[in-house]
Amino acid sequence: MSTPVLSSRKPRARIAGAWWSTTGLVIFAIAVLAAIFAPLLTPFDPLRGGSIPISAPDLEHPMGTDDLGRDVLSQVLFGLRASLFVGVASSLIALVIGAIVGALAGYNGGWVDTILMRVTELFQVVPRIFLLIIIAALFGQDQIIVALAIGLTSWPQAARLLRAEFLTRRESEYVMAARVIGASRTHLVVREILPNAVSPIVITTVLNVATAVLLEASLAFLGLSDPNVPSLGRMLQSSFGFIEIAPWMSFFPGVVVGLIALSMNMIGDGITNRMQRRTA
């Protein structure tokens, strides 16, 4: 009764209920399984034609065929492999670099911090897509190089988060206590401070997967992917000329890229939500 205006505004129940992140996890799990078991799920070779070109989806080709008579479904299934590999590998690379840079900057402070944060800002400001284009054009377009390039350019977020966490924890009482009883630097960093920063780092890494999948698709769309490896982005590049007569060639690969990115964003939302509830 006392404060009617404000207390009626309860903290909202976010859309990120448990079912939201569970749905994300399920979508992602299906994508991973489909990529792993791709050869069992389709009788067609993704890169070899042989069926009637540009035939609409039917029972034999549930997603239709492309202009070269290749089965779209099998291209999508095998294309998932490239997307998932680049997405996951590059995010792990970004995680490791971000963790090292963030921990070094936040734990040491002073000039180390200043220099590392300047480097971080540099990587955040320079237009990443052009950096990736140049690297792929110069060093080749296979998946490993693309994954490395995306990983090497997407660590700043993780570094910033970890640095902030280290700066606040460094002076906290329990870290002081550990230092007083003679804990080593490594122990302080790895055992005392790092575990507290796990959630934000996991969220950033999960969201990075979404971004990396989209970046990989963009690069492939621009023609910067290995032509001998099926890729969802490359499918979207070649499908565009046929959008009027064969919209299924664009529709399915696009939906799949979107679903992978969406599933990671949903999982990220879910973890954010749990974390907020714990601290609230």
Binding site: L122, F130, I134, I135, L138, S250, V257, A261, M264
Partner: protein, 322 residues
């Protein structure tokens, strides 16, 4: 005031530093890459005579820092090299494509900031309404879809099927003048801007919503309510002003992402700007154009960040005082 000037001065120096590092970094990348740097710097279409001339000019036998000095000197004279695919200097080529891209980017930014802030505020205020659930879900979806694919769908839906909007180029008729020309360009802008703004609106709406929710829980909002200010005044005058600060920061940082958008989206709509040029240059392996575009766009993004800093000073009085 002096404090503000010193702050902006420091940002200016840093901005110049970023550009310099990016340029030197590209130079080193080209030298590090496997293969002959001349074939990269000249482009695949270059004549053998030009390749020889370039080899002599680059002084590839000289120590690397001498080469770097020569390269920087060339850039300072605004010479970005020569494109054989287009038979013209890279600088002229890029300059001829800047206006369409600026038009597209500017319109996209304007639309996404206005719509994004409006949607975000709306969602934060109507906390219990079922409608914002739909908004939040749409926001996540829009942010997850590849922009060039959204573009393809819009081309198919509104261009091919419904025929409401043009899907190719910036104008349908070069003979138009004055208002008619402007209208025609605006008409051609609709689909590309909608494509690029989708993810940007989603991001800005999400940020605004989070910031607004935090701000609306502050004590001074309670105070404003207590003194009987109208809900409208509280939301727009008291809360939004403060909630905008993090939004401005992130919009500045996200400009790089917007660049990633126009590079792919311009090709979908054959928009005659830098993005379509990038795509064509990649297809032709026209390396002088690619590296020239990288340098020009990096400088533009850094400048835009500098403008963000200035906007920040303008809307946050705390920076001016302390």
């Amino acid at each position: 005031m002096q404090h503000v000037l010193r702050y902006l001065g420091a940002r200016l120096v840093w901005a110049a530093g970023i550009c310099a590092i990016a340029i030197v970094g590209t130079f080193l990348l080209v030298r590090l890459a496997p293969g002959d740097p001349v074939s990269f710097l000249a482009g695949e279409q270059a004549s053998p005579e030009y390749q020889e001339e370039l080899r002599a000019r680059l002084g590839l036998e000289e120590p690397i820092w001498v080469q770097l000095g020569a390269y920087l000197g060339q850039l300072l004279r605004l010479d970005l090299g020569y494109s054989f695919a287009y038979s013209q200097p890279v600088g002229d080529l890029i300059a001829s494509r800047v206006v369409p891209t600026l038009l597209l980017m500017g319109t996209t930014l304007l639309v996404s900031i206005v719509v994004g802030i409006w949607v975000g505020t709306w969602a934060a205020v109507r906390q219990r309404a079922i409608r914002w659930k739909a908004t939040s879900t749409l926001v996540v979806i829009a942010y997850s879809l590849p922009s060039f694919w959204i573009g393809q769908l819009l081309v198919l839906g509104f261009g091919v099927e419904l025929g409401w909007f043009p899907t190719i180029g910036m104008t349908g008729n070069d003979d138009l003048s004055g208002w008619q020309y402007a209208l025609d360009v605006a008409w051609h802008l609709v689909l590309p801007v909608a494509t690029l703004a989708a993810a940007e609106v989603a991001l800005i709406a999400r940020l605004t919503e989070t910031a607004m929710r935090e701000t609306l829980a502050e004590d001074y909002i309670t105070a404003a309510r207590g003194k009987g200010a109208s809900e409208r005044r509280i939301v727009y005058r008291h809360a939004l002003r403060n909630a905008l600060l993090p939004v401005v920061t992130v919009v500045g940082l996200e400009l790089g992402w917007l660049v990633a958008g126009f590079v792919v989206v311009e090709s979908v709509f054959s928009w005659p700007g830098l993005g379509a040029l990038t795509n064509a240059a990649i297809a032709a392996r026209d390396f002088p154009v690619i590296s020239g575009l990288f340098i020009v766009i990096t400088v533009c993004v850094v400048l835009a960040n500098l403008i963000t800093d200035i906007v920040y000073v303008l809307i946050d009085p705390r920076i001016r005082i302390s």
